[in-house]
């Protein structure tokens, strides 16, 4: 993954609570075998029902931040939701809370998920309407041109991976020795478990 340190620019003040991954990218867009081009289907239900919608407004074209309500990304595990946001140009989402699976998928794609208390998110929704927002990962802060400064928590391992742009699979493959040791023990202690589909030819 590419290194991430700061995300800066206009923020789409979406505000909605319980934004599910079907809303972010409907299932009919999931027939692809690629990770590219999903921005076209992003928030399709919002965009087709309202010609004045915020995602197609000139003002927010290419905005790198999305500000939303509680429980963002709930529902399906589709990583296509993260890919669709990336394709729209979004590099960070700010919300009071995130679904666990979405937060993981976003992280793997270098999208920051910044959880802040509702009153701070409400303030940022207000700022986002007219002005840019800056997220600094190293400092774990969100700032606005109006002296607002909010700090957020992030898992130290995820922060490290994002700042260094680490490939998690590559990282784990370097742990081959300890994994092999675990596997040997498993094969000895629970051979019935280790054989998997090999139990039936």
């Amino acid at each position: 993954m590419e290194k991430v340190s700061t995300v800066e620019g206009r923020a789409i003040p979406f505000g909605r609570k319980n934004v599910d991954t079907d809303l972010i990218i409907p299932a009919r867009w999931l027939k692809t075998t690629s990770r590219e081009g999903l921005g076209e289907g992003a928030f399709e239900a919002v965009r087709t029902s309202d010609p004045e919608n915020i995602f197609d407004s000139e003002e927010f074209a290419g905005a790198p931040i999305l500000v939303a309500g509680d429980n963002f990304g709930c529902g399906s595990s589709r990583e296509h939701a993260a890919w669709a946001l990336l394709d729209l140009g979004i590099r960070a989402v700010i919300a009071p809370s995130f679904s666990d699976i979405f937060a993981g998928n976003a992280f793997k794609n270098g999208i920051l998920t910044v959880a802040l208390p509702q009153e701070q998110v409400t303030r940022l929704l207000e700022v986002a309407a007219t002005d840019p927002i800056t997220i600094d990962l190293e400092a774990q802060s969100v700032t606005t041109p109006f002296q607002d400064r909010f700090t957020f928590e992030i898992d130290p391992f995820r922060k490290h991976c994002l700042l260094e742009g680490l490939d998690e699979v590559g990282l784990t493959l370097t742990r081959d020795e300890v994994i092999s040791r675990y596997e040997k023990r498993l094969a000895a202690d629970k051979p019935w478990l280790a054989r998997g589909t090999g139990i039936a030819a």
Binding site: C74, G104, G196
Partner: protein
């Protein structure tokens, strides 16, 4: 080994820690990996590009389900009928190529073992108690019904598991949902889990793994336990489980990938240690009174928008939280419902009986019981029954259930995810309603503009008969 009392989840977690990093992240061994056509192609492609292999093909099982049409798959001569939609055809072809290329066991679209991953895993004895089970699908929590720690993952994690048979995770918090008392007659596992989600909310279990506890679950069949755990994700929990017991062991014994012979006894002895210690504490605890649970139905566009069938559409003003009021107004607008309307007066045009939540033999029997000797109402334009696997289909046909459905005017289909998710050709037309046994009523979930009411299989069957949302208990008292 820690002597501190532990919950069942903590016991399973501890048994799978390969190593713990200084920052608290753990490298966890994954025992079972289920793969389907939609969330895997990019993962296999990444392996190919980096010259990596699947570390444990024998711990991986692949089957197509999401994208596959549920219409006939072979013609009269037994030849495969190609899928009309090119993208779907290509995605399926990718899995058919990737599975043998990487040495993974694969049930193809015409195999009798083919079906929805979450039906196939338990049915084949691939999903076992005490195991870590993952799949690129959020309803993987389902397998927790067998006492497994099972959870959905994204495609990057699918790639990680394929390449390393591990995941990097932090321990989740623990949550107990304890159900006290007994369910009333005519109230099912689906009604109960919908009631639980209505109580805790769609973010109630975020960051937690749920353990469902209480006599209700001890008495439940495995099919019902799978239904309960399946919808844990609708309560925000990535995983949900129920302690394995004699019912679990009896269900697993003799299945194709289950332990055999002397090893069976070793396995059962281990599985019997998988329970929460009496003094174990949970980070969060919710108590539900089973006697208060009625047949459940959703009115809005979030799975937490649950009421009893005898209730009315709620007034958005009745919610305390202003953001919930706003969400309820938007939901009612999308659903075209007005506050105060009786749920039983809501007419439906489509019936879907199927999905990983409710497509097992017990679900089909419950729907058939209501439909036996009855016909669908004139309101119903489209009604389909989709078995969860080829084996479920064969069993249902052996019991004559297919005939009951077709005599009632419903279609009997081939196994797959079908109308649960608006991806394959089975969709609910925009502006129309469905009574659906699936798990999500999100905006556009069953097709653009489709209006979904989640219900149990018996309730979907009752709605088919009356053409409106109906309390199945009234129908069974007065047969037509």
């Amino acid at each position: 080994m820690s002597s501190k009392p532990r919950t069942m989840y903590e016991k399973i977690f501890d048994a799978h820690v390969i190593e713990q990093r200084d920052d608290g992240t753990c490298l966890i061994f994954i025992d079972r990996h289920l793969v389907h056509e939609v969330t895997s192609p990019q993962a296999f492609e990444a392996l190919r590009m980096k010259g990596r292999t699947v570390r444990h093909p024998e711990l991986t099982l692949a089957v197509p389900d999401h994208n596959l049409p549920t219409t006939a798959r072979v013609d009269a001569e037994g030849n495969r009928i190609p899928i009309a939609d090119k993208q779907s055809r290509d995605q399926l072809a990718a899995l058919e190529r990737n599975a043998p290329d990487f040495g993974v066991r694969y049930f193809d679209a015409t195999a009798r073992q083919q079906g929805i991953v979450h039906v196939v895993g338990p049915e084949q004895g691939f999903s076992l108690p005490g195991t870590t089970i993952v799949c690129g699908d959020s309803h993987t929590a389902c397998h927790g019904g067998l006492g497994a720690w099972a959870f959905g993952i994204g495609t990057s994690e699918v790639e990680h598991v394929l390449a390393t048979q591990t995941l990097l995770l932090r321990p989740s918090k623990t949550m107990e949902v304890r159900v006290e008392g007994e369910l009333s007659l005519g109230v099912t596992a689906k009604d109960l889990i919908m009631h639980i989600i209505g109580t805790i909310g769609t973010a109630g279990g975020t960051g937690h793994v749920i353990e469902y506890r209480g006599p209700v679950f001890e008495k439940m069949s495995i099919e019902s336990r799978l239904t309960v755990c399946n919808m844990s994700i609708e309560g925000g929990a990535r995983g949900g489980l129920i302690a394995p017991d004699e019912t679990t062991f009896a269900y697993i014994k003799g299945r194709p990938f289950a332990p055999q012979g002397a090893e069976w006894d070793d396995a059962v002895a281990y599985w019997k240690t998988l329970y929460s210690d009496p003094d174990a504490t949970f980070d969060k605890s919710v108590v539900i009174d089973a006697s208060k649970v009625e047949p459940s139905v959703t009115w809005g566009t979030s799975p937490e928008d649950v009421v009893a069938i005898g209730d009315r559409v709620p007034d958005p003003e009745s919610f305390d939280d202003p953001s919930k009021q706003e969400a309820a107004r938007a939901s009612l607008d999308y659903m075209d419902l007005t506050p105060g309307m009786r749920m039983q007066d809501v007419e439906v045009q489509n019936i879907f009986i199927g999905s990983c939540t409710n497509s097992r033999i017990e679900d089909l029997r419950a729907a058939a019981e209501v439909l036996r000797g009855r016909r669908k109402h004139a309101n119903i334009k489209w009604g389909i029954v989709v078995p969860g696997s080829g084996l479920v289909k064969m069993q249902a046909e052996a019991e004559g259930l297919d005939k009951i459905f077709t005599d009632a005017g419903l279609e009997w289909r081939e196994p797959g995810c079908s109308a649960c998710l608006g991806m394959n050709p089975d969709k609910v037309p925009g502006g129309e309603r469905s009574a659906s046994t699936s798990n999500r009523n999100f905006v556009g979930r069953q097709g653009p503009g489709a209006r979904t009411h989640l219900v149990s299989p018996a309730m979907a069957a009752a709605a088919a008969v009356t053409g409106r949302l109906t309390d199945v208990r009234e129908l069974t008292r007065e047969p037509a």
